[in-house]
Amino acid sequence: MSAKDAPQIPRDLTIPKLFLEKCKRYGKKKVAMREKEFGIWRPITWEDYYNNVKYLSLGMIKLGLKRGDKVAMIGDNRPEGLWAEMATLCAGGIAVWLFQDCLMEEVKYIIDHSDSKFLVGEGQEEVDKGLSIFDECPKLERIIWDDPKGMRNYDQTCLVSIAEAQKLGREMEREHPGLFEETAQQGTGDDICLLFYTSGTTALPKGALLSHHNMLSMGAALMAIDPCTEADDFVSYLPFAWIGEQMMSISCGLQVGFTINFPEEPEVAQENIREIGPHVMFAPPRMYEQWTRTVQVKYLDSTWLKRKIYSLSTKVGYHVANLKFDKKSVPVHWVILNWLAYILMQKKLRDHLGLSRIRNAYTGGAAMGPDHFRFFHALGVNLKQIYGQTEIAGISVVHRTGDIKFDTVGTPIPGTEIDITDDGEIIAKSPSVFLGYYKNPDATEKTLVDGWLYSGDKGFIDEDGHLVVFDRSKDVMTLRDGRPFSPQYLETRLKFSPYIQDAWVIGDKREYIVAVMCIDYTVTGKWADEKKLNYTSYPELSQKPEVYELVRSQIMEANKDLPTVARIHKFVNLYKEFDPDDDELTRTRKLRRAFVEDRYRQIVDALYADTDTVHIDTVIKYEDGREAHIITDLRVEFVPLEEDK
């Protein structure tokens, strides 16, 4: 698709201007968002949304927010979070979102590096985080909070509640009537609206600067392909600090005007999604992987009859999905069989997953295994891959309905050009390409060349014009026979097994391929219970010979269709799961290879040595701050390799 088909966004349109327009149009008549609170879904109309944003915005101005100032935000998905972001933008400020589970050092680094003036936190926990770094971040002036629980003994002068800020806003309105509209109408699309810190698999997070025009044109392009309507529902439960959530809640949400639903608590998000039954969703692969795992486990638990129905129905589902992938027409008898499968199984399963009304489900942010992808299509869920990065406002390439290939990420969205450099790097050009990294001209220079965004991903364009993303350039391995190979591909295949939580494949320029496996504690634990195996902890369970046997069988399954040189030959079960708090994963749960390679050097060495155990003597830190000394022996085991047929 060429640039001229792209929906045109006026250059001077900003998010606040669009916000005012929508509030005026919908007013009291339409529900802008819902929040489940005290067990009931409570609607918030566009008028309520407007008033809350207006007075909060004026309050921030009264507290000293100037155009171009940064406001950092942290907290669960909730209306107040979105109000704070919108209020910041309306006052001409720039929003900076932090992941809810960020550690202190990360919070401090981002607040300090971004020069944030205010921090908007949800409740006591976030306020505590803010207060503990307050003295070290001289540019931080105020901490605004909204949940009063546990806040009764806090009297620091830098603390302001959202209610107090809104009260100040009302005073401001009396002193300067019309100031809010005036401020919100200022500015053009080229002004910066978001400063977004990328998770960074290698180094410190980098702050990407995105303009209003970046965000709006991306949203418009996506909506041009897969239109949403005002009557649609969307559930916002993934961190606002993830660009994908911004893309749905702000860029698309504001342009279309669909209803945004906030779950009661993160723990009940899945149930709440089921209650809402959203029409559109965008989630990273791990969410879909989790769902697949849940279904697989429930399958093992259910009765004979149910299992039989499930396996027959999925067989039909897979067959029909494969026909559709091959763009062949589905014969009538298969249509009927599929309808039966729908009535008997798919309908109910989709309902349990909250996918009963789903029109478009997107995944992106990391690679997704073809097995997961086919699984959802066999259920009749129109799952599409999105490719993009924070630097291009979230999306540049997506699958189209009826043109889905599970090993590609689709074709560019309107207005976007994609090209491959001579080295095989994917580059993109579009109105959504970001303005540069904040206070990091070197990185900007490397990433932005003549308006082209250098992604750092290796890939190619196939015969149908689909983009195939191979892997991060630096992660691509060279096999023994000199062929390039993507470790991610094998890892996603391994993760299709419900027993495996994470996998790390190693083997760049080595004699053979090896893997470090993290078992899924719940699922494998349940399996062990049924087998009457005794265990007390993750480390113990992971080292059971029976569990090794189980993992080996899962690896052989993943090895199946691969050439011998690309097969996993040896593996170790790790004594713990990979965790973002230990820096092993990014906040969006991507493996930080360089880090784990350094940390687990001993294990990697053992995998390539002529030994069958590796001695571990290390300290691990629990979430509540306790430390435990771990001394254990991990077993190194082989996977039999058959010769190529």
Partner: protein, 273 residues
């Protein structure tokens, strides 16, 4: 908040005067006197078998002491049965969980509202008039004040018997709070909990004691000295049915008799600092 009979913070809410309780010839309580002021957290500590739970059972009416008087808000309550005392605003949790394990969390908590239900069978069956209004009020109270406070949204509809022990303890506190008590007796609320659950529970106890909405006076029986010394206003030490001392945490920690009888020479109570 003004308590029963117009009580102000600092007034005596609960008073035990020379209470004796015998089981056969064993004196479980041998002349115990206690003075709990409104608004405070008053802890009762002592070795196992000291008579702490017996004392709680006397306050709440499960046991009737043979000798001595118990006053609640200035009124002698010796002869009142437990449900009358509950109506007066005395609520409790138990050392061993006493929930209905086959019922959901919500149903267990709702049960605690029973004494506040005024409508009769008729209007309840028709769900009309007073019954309907009442039910909505109670629902709001349970959801907004209890479930939100104790952060048990995710387990509302779960059967209690299926929950881990720590959560069951929380549900029991929820049921006790559903009575909207003025005096809350907590019998070893922290026993058997892990570190994180202890921290949560201690926070809930403080919330209930300090939040403007609640301001509940608390009698806490507990072995976890770190928490007791951290959150109590006063600590009452009991040994074989006799009071050793009743003082502020600082003074109790210094008391040589308490150290000999219970705390031991080690700084047990500093474990959580």
């Amino acid at each position: 908040m003004i308590g029963p009979n117009g009580q102000q913070p600092g007034d005596t809410l609960l008073k035990l005067d020379d209470v004796h309780m015998y089981f056969g010839k064993v004196a479980a309580l041998a002349g115990v006197s206690l003075d709990v002021k409104k608004g405070e957290i008053h802890s009762i500590i002592g070795p196992n078998g000291a008579g702490k739970t017996v004392m709680m059972n006397c306050i709440n009416g499960l046991y009737k002491p043979q000798q001595g008087a118990i006053y609640y808000a200035g009124q002698q309550i010796n002869h009142y049965s437990p449900h009358v005392r509950a109506k007066l605003g005395i609520s409790r949790t138990f050392q061993k969980i006493e929930l209905f394990s086959g019922m959901t969390v919500l149903d267990n908590i709702r049960l605690g509202r029973h004494i506040h239900l005024k409508s009769g069978i008729g209007s309840g069956a028709l769900y009309w008039g007073r019954a309907k209004k009442e039910e909505i009020q109670h629902r709001n109270f349970i959801e907004e004040e209890i479930i939100d406070l104790l952060e048990i949204e995710a387990i509302r509809h779960k059967t209690v018997g299926m929950l881990p022990y720590g959560l069951q303890k929380r549900v029991e506190l929820g049921r006790a709070l559903a009575l909207e008590p003025t005096l809350l007796i907590l019998d070893e609320p922290l026993a058997g909990l892990n570190l994180e659950e202890v921290e949560d529970m201690a926070r809930f106890i403080l919330d209930v004691n300090e939040e403007k909405r609640w301001k509940v006076t608390i009698v806490l029986v507990e072995h976890d000295m770190g928490v007791v010394m951290d959150i109590s206003d006063r600590v009452f030490v009991l040994n074989f049915g006799n009071m050793i001392t009743d003082d502020t945490p600082e003074q109790v920690q210094k008391n040589p008799e308490v150290i000999r009888a219970y705390l031991g020479e080690e700084d047990l109570y500093t474990t959580r600092r």
